[in-house]
Symmetry: C2
Subunit: 495 residues, 2 copies
């Protein structure tokens, strides 16, 4: 595995949370790092960030990562800039300190080496003053945790060259980041200005006793925060404006800007010029997508984000989890009303767009997902609940799938499950997946499951109550015809 082309070693000035995060980005991309930080605790602190970063990055990417680069701590800023192809500065936010580090390091670096600064508020024009080759100083402002969040604001000062801006952006992109180029330097750049505005309003709300710290955070993470993970304020409001778009939204809600809704009341005047500018830029951002398209993309993304958060037991994911438990509980009466003399109809799903692959129909692995979900419903049916799962579960040990007809996005599917056999430890069942509109059989799946003591990690007999339910089910399903595809092996001629 080759590392990033042309980048084998970089220098980093400052080893706090941000400098450590940069070190992790480079090291995990196979680039060596020379780190300068006078704090004797720096190696420990950087090591902790790197531990977190390794853990997270290996979960994040499906692709192989190159062998990790090597990390060396050096004694001077000059050492950190010697023999490297790029330097990132992440010292504390004091202009004189940053100027001193950049000046010293720039005397030692090759003349073509670009310098990025992580400053969140200082101006590049001030920082580049006194540097050897000041034209190579670029602000590259990242966000915590640097090893995961893609955003890096890229902006130059009065002396900064276009080439340096381009090279810094390319390097950040090769690390898996998303550079956003800003035309003008201002205090706090763009992202931190937005964060500061929200933060100041939040402080007022606490100060005035309107809401607590936790309630304010909840008002973000259960609402607008979910949208903000993939869509900013302007696109949100474009959608809110409906087919009439941004101009309509501004006409409807622009006046409320004058309401005293914020302690921070200075508001730009909504001149025709500003309005035209907003509308034109919003049109460009939408790239011709209709409101309906934008809505569905928004909804699919909200679904994906909430499902992701369910897996990590956080925020809206916990709300979704609680809601599903409610729905399952409300569906509980179903379990009693099942007709035991037929395969149990346990699961339904509508084929979502992202289940369709390059062949234009539902991917084979999604059929397995459906039969797996149906199997989960069978588990609940026989009594495997949250309490039971604290000590025991059934694990799938062997499965066989036959694919018949295709399914397309939007098709409604249902799955029925037939018990073929069971004993104290084993459960052998058969799923048939049908299209709901015409009952076409689209796929079948046969599974052998093993009852497991999860703490001990080995097979064990199921609880008597479960076995009693299985016995009762078997008494009925035993007289059903055996499915034609049961017991097949791959390559067996069709009967």
């Amino acid at each position: 595995m080759s590392p990033i082309p042309g980048l084998s070693c970089v220098g980093i000035l400052g080893g706090g949370v941000i400098g450590g995060g940069w070190a992790a980005r480079f090291l995990l991309n196979g680039v060596d790092v020379k780190m300068y930080d006078p704090d004797p605790e720096a190696p420990r602190k950087v090591g902790e960030v790197l531990d977190n970063a390794r853990r997270a990055m290996h979960k994040l990417v499906a692709s192989p990562l190159p062998p990790e680069g090597s990390l060396t701590f050096v004694d001077t800023p000059e050492d950190a800039a010697t023999g490297v192809q790029f330097v990132q500065e992440s010292a504390p936010e004091r202009l004189e300190l940053k100027q001193m580090l950049l000046q010293r390091a720039s005397t030692a670096a090759g003349p073509e080496v670009v310098f990025g600064s992580s400053t969140s508020g200082l101006l590049p024009t001030d920082m580049q003053r006194g540097m050897t080759h000041p034209e190579r100083l670029v602000v590259g402002h990242p966000f915590n945790p640097v090893y995961l969040l893609p955003l890096v604001e890229v902006v130059g000062g009065e002396q900064t060259s276009t080439a340096a801006l381009g090279e810094a952006a390319a390097i950040y992109e090769s690390l898996g980041m998303q550079p956003v180029r800003l035309e003008h330097e201002i205090d706090g750049f763009v992202a931190d200005r937005l964060l500061e505005a929200l933060w100041r309003e939040a402080l007022w709300l606490v100060n005035d006793g309107i809401a607590t710290v936790e309630e304010i955070d909840d008002c973000v993470r259960y609402g607008a925060g979910l949208r903000w993970s993939f869509m900013g304020t302007f696109l949100t409001y474009r959608i809110a404006g409906g087919e009439a778009g941004m101009r309509h939204f501004m006409a409807q809600f622009g006046p409320s800007l004058q309401w005293p809704w914020s302690k921070l009341t200075d508001v730009p005047e909504l001149t025709d010029e500003l309005l035209d500018k907003l509308v034109a830029q919003s049109d460009e951002q939408a790239r011709g997508r209709t409101i309906r398209e934008l809505e569905r993309h928004r909804d699919d993304s909200l679904v994906a984000v909430m499902q992701g958060l369910r897996a990590t037991h956080n925020g809206a994911g916990l709300v979704l989890d609680r809601y599903e438990r409610q729905l399952f509980a409300r569906a509980g009466s179903h379990h009693v009303e099942h007709d035991l003399d037929a395969p149990l109809r346990l699961y339904e799903a509508t084929v979502p767009v992202d289940w369709v692959d390059y062949n234009g129909h539902m991917n084979d692995s999604r059929f397995f997902q459906v039969t797996s979900e149906a199997g989960d419903r069978l588990m609940r049916f026989i009594g495997v609940d949250e309490q039971y799962l604290t000590h025991s579960s059934y694990y799938t040990v062997e499965s066989h799938v036959n694919f018949g007809a295709q399914a397309k996005a939007g098709d409604r599917l249902y799955a029925t499950v037939q018990l073929l056999s069971h004993d104290a430890k084993r459960l052998h069942h058969f799923t048939s997946i049908h299209r709901a509109d015409d009952d076409t059989l689209v796929a079948t799946a046969e599974h052998m499951m093993l009852h497991v003591d999860t703490a001990a990690g080995r097979s064990s007999p199921a609880a008597p109550a479960l076995l009693a339910t299985l016995d009762e089910l078997a008494a009925h399903h035993g007289s059903l015809p055996r499915p034609a595809h049961a017991g097949r092996f791959v390559g067996q001629p069709r009967g």
Copy 2:
């Protein structure tokens, strides 16, 4: 399936995007809806919201949904409130209009029926004036799309009863939402105050030509917005303060509040009293979790959110996708140099967080996903490319999977593929999935694939070039030992 206990029919006043979203929430939870909206376009508009909601909800929840409730449009606000157990008002934001609707509807509703108002800015004390039983009026302020976002701000006016607040919150929770109770009514409540502050600052940035609409949105969705989907500003800053926590953070960054970083410069004075309040509320929010625990929970959630967005091709998910392609390309030399005398090592993956199920390890359907991906790589290896897919493809007709060891989140897996047999139309292959760190065999899968003329929809012989590649591969793989699990049927005793 029973609907929500005690809730079989509700009234909704106003059928715009918000009223339509509420209707969808209730209908999809099996509750009947009586809708009043004088706009003749309302049925069409509500129908469009409901279409979106059905599509999204069926993707969102794994649990069964009850039979949809019935939607009836009625002619007066009184009709909408007759014979219902709850009323939600979502009319345009004009106080007199809302007062008129609430007054009329409250004369017709039973005395115990609670009224929720979707207002985003008006005070409940003003709205409840003149209502029959004004104590039952509660603000329940939702966010768009109402059928997906969990947040609903719940706050009462001077006359509102505690019982009404509790009942409204319970109803919202039964719909899968997250009520946040606010102690005091203020213009704009909490969430919209935060949104307004950010929005006003954003307008300044456009007005001053610092950044475009799209750049500003990008500065949210690639950075802080990803965090905001599960964590608000205060918890973010607590983590930024490190082990020393919130007081340390405020000591370090409090002074920057006085910097001119925002056009909206009114800032609360950081008195000892405010500081103590912030620290105490932040401690309570953290519930004893250490910074390291909070960091890892944050990282796992960021990983899950970005992986979710990769699946929906949005924002940071696209950045991740591009980054993975870069990594695969950098690792590219691996793929060309295949040793034909061994099973082909065609696919690698790190187990993401959301592949893990309630048993604490990788879900069985995800193993099928891995073998399916490996099969896709085999297709590419033998020459099935974009061009070939325009007329022909291989479809999976039968599969068999054996599950051995477990895999956990973060485990690195690789898959090898062995060709068992082939003819002009058929391709029989065998995948072995290993854990990379110790080469443990975790699962195997056997597949029969059929070559298909996709336009005609029937089997056809593969192109000569593909068959030549298969012949060459077979000449090598024919002398490999046959995998122990090939040809098995479910229930066959282990050899």
